[in-house]
């Protein structure tokens, strides 16, 4: 009969063993998430557990906002009302011309046999809070997959592009801002139509154009708008403004810094645009690829 200590002394595996087990589990999760994005379903499940806590955490903010609204004085409201009225009068003229211009544009496009630009479906959403993760620039909005949001949708406000929906939970969504380092937007310079890809910059609130040749025609103050090539962002939305260009002959590319046109601090209300992905026409090589299966069949099968 072998000796065993009484069971009340047993404390399970040694701490170091446990540590190794949980570290390897964590590393596995991190690799799966960072490289392959396999952990989204796990994240959805865990997020549901945390959701009540998140809503509870937002309660003080809602209360503070409610109190601020309550104490907004009549004078402020009156003043704002007058301002809005004058602005409406100013824009009425533009709106009237817009109608005729739109009709004209549709006609011209038809004549050119171009694809008709349909107005997209938009969902109204409110920014709940900035993500606490200090390594990325994201905000969380109050609409999720229950309201029909999908990953990849563009998020805009009245001035320009804010970002893109990158993760959808049942009742919340995460929006990656255009200033995030991992975020890229196809853009175009208004002045000369030069196309570029805008990435998030290394400093907060900045963006940069990577891989622009040193002799590229870019000037300070150039406005970048979305080019609409990708089908995600509608054409012509302001994204950024060029503020600094460093041309160094030692490098192949110029360093172009921009600031974002808009940001999550301006308003709490945003629009999420429906994903308008049109199937691209089949590539012309389709005919060449047709005999391929036959060639495949000829390959001798392994025993």
């Amino acid at each position: 009969m072998d000796y065993q200590p009484p069971p009340f002394f047993s404390r399970g595996p040694a701490p170091l063993v446990r540590l190794m087990f949980f570290i390897s589990l964590a590393v596995l999760l991190m690799v799966l998430d960072a490289r392959f994005r396999y952990t989204e379903s796990l994240r959805q499940v865990v997020a549901v557990v945390v959701y009540p806590l998140q809503r509870l955490a937002l309660l003080p903010v809602d209360l503070a906002n409610g109190a601020a609204d309550y104490f907004t004085s009549l004078v402020t409201l009156k003043h704002e009302n007058e301002q809005l009225k004058t602005r409406q009068l100013e824009s009425a003229n533009d709106l009237l011309t817009l109608e005729s211009l739109r009709a004209e544009n549709v006609q011209l496009r038809r004549m050119l046999d171009a694809q008709e630009q349909l107005p997209r479906k938009a969902t109204f959403a409110e920014i709940l809070y900035m993500s606490r993760d200090p390594f990325s620039r994201k905000v969380v909005i109050d609409k999720g997959s229950q309201q029909g949001l999908q990953t990849g949708q563009a998020v805009i406000d009245d001035v320009g592009v804010i970002g893109q929906v990158t993760r959808v939970y049942p009742l919340l969504s995460e929006v990656t801002l255009v200033t995030d380092r991992e975020q890229a937007i196809p853009a175009q310079i208004v002045r000369n139509g030069l196309r570029a890809v805008v990435y998030g910059g290394s400093d907060p609130g900045t963006l940069e154009l990577r891989y622009m040749p040193t002799n590229a025609d870019i000037q300070n103050g150039d406005v970048l708008v979305t080019s609409g090539i990708d089908g995600t962002y509608p054409e012509g939305l302001p994204v950024a403004r060029v503020v600094k260009i460093e041309r160094d002959a030692a490098y192949a590319f110029a360093k172009v810094s921009c600031v974002a046109t808009t940001g999550p601090d301006r308003h709490r209300q945003v629009l999420v645009l429906a994903y308008d992905w049109k199937q691209p026409p089949p590539p012309p090589q389709a005919a060449d690829q047709a005999p391929k299966p036959a060639a495949k069949a000829k390959r001798p099968k392994r025993p």
């Binding site: 701490p15 446990r18 949980f22 589990l25 509870l56 390594f135 380092r181 907060p204």
Partner: protein
């Protein structure tokens, strides 16, 4: 028990429900919509370190790991990032738990500071490796503030254990 000249009696056993409540409260604090506040202390890390030091048999590496996973999902951080850091933090706290309580509260805070900075540094390294942006040196103010809160945490989190056993007994605090 802890270095406390005023408290002479034997503390009551810890209530597991109270431990869970403090962890939930700390997580709630972490999830408050702080905008870009620099040097925000990670209270959940502090609470995990505290319970690992005081109750290493009830709060372990596994629980710390699970709480970290909740933080990851709630924050939209890299999945496993907080779990990784908190597991190592819990291990460090458990390794220290026999000696740390012989020191004065501020010396204890110094021990905890090293643990908290180490776990924060690990998260930084992990995220930089995964291609995140460098958040600046302000990122390390948080652990310093959290460690400075250690004496407060010692007082607050041990309060329920210092209640007298019967209400008519004279209070020993």
């Amino acid at each position: 028990m802890a270095f406390d000249p005023r408290f002479q009696g034997i503390p009551r056993p810890v209530n597991v429900g109270f431990m869970a409540l403090t962890a939930a409260a700390a997580m709630l604090f972490n999830m408050l919509p702080w905008r870009d506040v620099i040097g925000l202390p990670d209270l959940l890390a502090l609470v995990i370190a505290f319970w690992c030091v005081h109750e290493p048999r009830k709060m372990g590496i596994g629980f710390a790991w699970a709480l970290g996973l909740l933080m990851d999902a709630g924050n939209g951080a890299l999945m496993g990032q907080h779990a990784f850091a908190y597991a190592i933090l819990a291990f460090g706290a458990i390794a220290l738990h026999r000696r740390i309580l012989w020191f004065s509260p501020w010396a204890q805070a110094a021990h905890v500071l090293i643990l908290l900075v180490a776990s924060q540094l690990l998260m930084l390294l992990v995220r930089m490796a995964a291609g995140g942006a460098y958040p600046g040196l302000g990122y390390f103010i948080g652990p310093v503030i959290a460690a400075a809160l250690w004496p407060v945490a010692t007082y607050v989190l041990l309060l329920p254990q210092r209640r007298p056993r019967h209400s008519d007994e004279p209070r020993s605090i």
